[in-house]
Amino acid sequence: MNYHLLGPEIAVATLGLLILAISLLLPSRGKSTAGYLATAGLIAVLMAVIVNFSQEAVFFAGVYQIDRYANYFRILFLTAALLIILMSSRYTSLFGERKSEWFSFMLFATAGMMIMVAAGDLITVYVGLELMTISFYILSAYLLNDHLSAEAGLKYLIIGAFSSAVLLFGMSLVYACSGTTVFTEIYDALRAGPQRPALLAGMVMMIAGLGFKISAVPFHMWTPDIYQGAPTPVTAYLSVASKAAGFAVLVRIFLLAFPAASWDWHLALAVLAALTMVIGNLTALVQTNVKRMLAYSSIAQAGYILVGLIAANTYGLKGLLFYAMLYVFSNVGAFAVTALVEVEEGSTEREAFNGLGRRAPMPAAVLTICMLSLAGIPPMAGFAGKFYLFSGAIQAGYLWLAFIGLLMSMISVYYYLNVAKAMYIGTSRQEGLITLPFPVRTALWICLAGTIFLGVYPGPLSELTELAVQLFSAV
């Protein structure tokens, strides 16, 4: 057994605990140390995962699987966590005394996600999911004196607990029908056995439970309030990483555990995806708060990504993985600038962005480019991602879905450009350039470079995704 392959999860969890301890022991609660320690630790773990990318192993009779697919998502989560920690270097001052614990919870959430994507059975998925979700309950309410943040935390707790219950109930029904919780064994058991309504109910409930995590319509209701209320870096992490983890699990379960014959879930998901794209984009059109607008936009993005699972062919799955990765760069870039404005102006209303093009040319350019990437305008990364996703969809015969998706993504340009308009022709009350701390500047440059590079030259990442999805080629 190559137990060192479990190192990343262990390291991240230990790092979280270490920072928690440091915040108790060091003077002024180790505020300055915690950030550096988290950054350095995450970089080290990320390097280790990249070096061991192609090493695969199955642990504990299929319960835990380290494969390229899991490694791909581990890279994604670690990159996202790093970017978020960098971008929030100024924002964390709002947390006051509780700053260093914030890093701990970020790391626990990351560990939870890493467990989710490597899980080979339902119980492990659930454990990882809860580790992630409970960390997020705390993180969403981290601005204690802001009633919106407190409200977000409470809402997330109630609705999140409810959705976890639904998911768990679905899992138990699947267990009842198959007699096992390990994916590969579920597959074998169900292929042999007869069709059962209970299994169908279990699958539907699992779609609902995971649909909550990826905020697909109609399980999206919590998203706008919580995205708007939670501290901006948390919202960013919630939108890129928690969503990606949800997708990773959804794909693994639905392609590996449920044989295609048991229920044709493709069409049901296709309808959900279409609704998600339409409702997310149309509601985003009328938002005046940028954070809330990005929340609706993230619902719409979930719709696009879901198309990859529905297509369930090589292009579609590669598109799903590709899109999840570029979404990290583009969305974190967008939220990083939003966080900057929030700290500077105390608001995330669109008026707060007025004149940003003059006061902070570089962040304004990053926000514009990242949002255009989300809208799928070439040469930004979003276009390449959508090209894969919708090529997959058309190949699988879902022409109508591609139609809706592409039309909606063009409509989305309207609300993204409205922000660009405020930045470039709006006039600001305040004058003078906004100074950027070094970590924030670094994060912005990484997001910008990632967004443009993946769009202009998608080749390398596309080959990485190809390796990651080989797992499903047998299905």
Binding site: I394, L406, L407, M410, V413, Y424, I425
Partner: protein, 502 residues
């Protein structure tokens, strides 16, 4: 033939210029303008070298470059030019170069202006030289966003606000491109199924034998996409408002070359890849073309704002191009390509002159002017040259284009062609009336303070005016190149029957 990647350098020069300008300090405005001028001049010279280095005898794609780009999608970074793309590449650079000079007097946010302008020029150029669908689309949409930002930052609000104009233009073009993209992805997926390997190369895809029903369906999609860009009736409403709101340089590039991407796409992708679909839909396109020529022409008669007149007139003239494309024969297609070139230089010259006048007088109403030829004789020359080219006077390059289209189209659609020729009369009415009202008549003293064209202002007039006249008197060089491209394309798609939709 050249032994260096001439096409890559041509489109990368403006990008390099834009990067250089972002590094210059904001206050160095003279330097910023100089960099922009130098880069566009370099591209112009290179595209002239392409034009004269091209061998029409051999024909086909020349000066090709190809680098594998995305393996699993079969995408190559592939460039090349043939007889259809060369005139348009040349046109882009003529106008791009002139546009830099036409906006020499931009005073606010000079840095942003020239960065965006150079990106725009570069993107337009790329669409004409890409021979790979993916790369083509990459360039195609790159242009949309700089245009939006240029319009809202530097445009002017008269009848409609610049924010409205910019957003209308952007959304129209993007919705069109959504349909186009569905069509292109469908082509790619079907091509992969038929050929057995993924490819985005236009030449290779042309070898796939797409079923007729599929061709018709996809041609409808891309005709909608490219048609919107070409301001095909009834999807033209963005064009006059967009031009009116846009700053001079954007109007020049948009009316001059960007629209032509629509026509180019219909020929290069529509006709070459989907010949059966194109021929099936052709009569419908011809009827819509008549809508452009007559309907937009009549609207033009009622316009009072100079930019709206040129805006609607450009919609009207695109009808000729569409008619040429819909006739699918050697003569009509030669005419269509020639007309795209001719209309481009003419419209750009018109907008440059209007921009200069507006910059000084802050009005564009025809009725506010009169007798300007007294104060501004050189500007008057520019206006007259553009106006007479617009109504297709022999001796200008527009005559060559229009005449060729009508000759080619008459054999296919007799009635429609005769009706379309009436467009010339309509054009003559509004153009001559406008020019008479603005330039001639008694001297009006309120305009005595206006300065005639001088110094750098003369560059657009000289460059574009020369193109109009040289193209009109000596059309052979360009026509030979166009003919070699169109002839080869028609040879590839083979003969076929036009019609079927009605």
């Amino acid at each position: 033939m050249y032994d260096f990647p001439i096409l890559s350098i041509t489109w990368l020069l403006p990008i390099a210029g834009a990067l250089l300008i972002t590094m210059l300090p904001r206050t160095q405005e003279g330097m910023i303008r100089a960099v922009a001028a130098a880069c566009t001049l370099g591209s112009l010279v290179l595209s002239l070298m392409v034009c004269f280095g091209y061998d029409p005898e051999t024909g086909g794609m020349q000066m090709t470059e190809s680098i594998p780009w995305i393996r699993d999608l079969g995408v190559n970074y592939a460039l090349g030019v043939d007889g259809i793309s060369i005139p348009l590449l040349l046109l882009t650079n003529l106008i791009g170069f002139s546009a830099v000079y036409a906006s020499w007097h931009t005073e606010e946010r000079v840095k942003e202006f020239f960065v965006l302008l150079l990106l725009l020029i570069s993107g337009v150029m790329g669409t004409f030289i890409a021979t790979d669908l993916f790369i083509f689309f990459l360039f195609y949409e790159v242009v949309v966003i700089p245009i939006y930002l240029l319009v809202i930052m530097f445009g002017s609000s008269k009848r409609v606000t610049k924010e409205y104009a910019g957003m209308k233009l952007t959304i129209y073009l993007l919705i069109g491109s959504a349909f186009l993209l569905v069509g292109l992805i469908a082509l790619f997926v079907k091509g992969q199924a038929l050929l057995g390997f993924p490819t985005m190369d236009i030449g290779t895809l042309a070898g796939a034998d797409f079923p007729v029903a599929f061709q018709v369906f996809v041609y409808c999609l891309i005709a909608f996409g490219f048609g919107t860009l070409l301001s095909m009736f009834p999807f033209h409403a963005w064009s006059p408002d967009g031009y009116a709101g846009a700053p001079t340089a954007v109007s020049m590039i948009h009316a001059g070359v960007l629209k032509k991407i629509g026509g180019y796409g219909l020929i290069r992708i529509g006709l070459l890849l989907l010949p059966a679909g194109a021929r099936y839909i052709a009569p419908l396109i011809a009827i819509l073309a008549l809508g452009n020529v007559v309907y937009a022409g009549i609207i033009c008669l009622a316009q009072k704002d100079l930019k709206y007149i040129v805006g609607y007139s450009s919609v009207s003239h695109m009808g000729y191009v569409l008619l040429g494309i819909a006739s699918v024969n050697l003569i009509s297609l030669n005419g269509a390509v020639m007309m795209m070139f001719a209309h481009g230089v003419m419209a750009a010259l018109f907008f440059a002159m209007i921009g200069n006048l507006y910059h000084q007088s802050h009005t564009r109403n025809v009725s506010d002017f009169g007798g300007l030829a007294h104060q501004m004789p050189r500007l008057a020359v520019g206006f007259m040259l553009a106006g007479l080219a617009s109504l297709g006077l022999p001796g200008t390059v527009n005559f060559i284009g229009e005449f060729t289209i009508f000759v080619g189209a008459f054999g296919i659609y007799n009635v429609l062609t005769i009706l379309a020729i009436s467009g010339i009369v309509i054009t003559a009415v509004y153009i001559l009336r406008t020019l008479g009202g603005v330039l001639f008549g008694p001297r009006r003293s309120e305009w005595d303070h206006l300065q005639d064209l001088h110094g750098v202002d003369l560059v657009p007039l000289l460059v574009l005016g020369a193109a109009i006249l040289i193209g009109g008197i000596l059309p052979f060089t360009l026509m030979d190149i166009i003919q070699s491209g169109v002839g080869q394309l028609l040879g590839q798609i083979g003969p076929g029957q036009i019609g079927g939709i009605f």
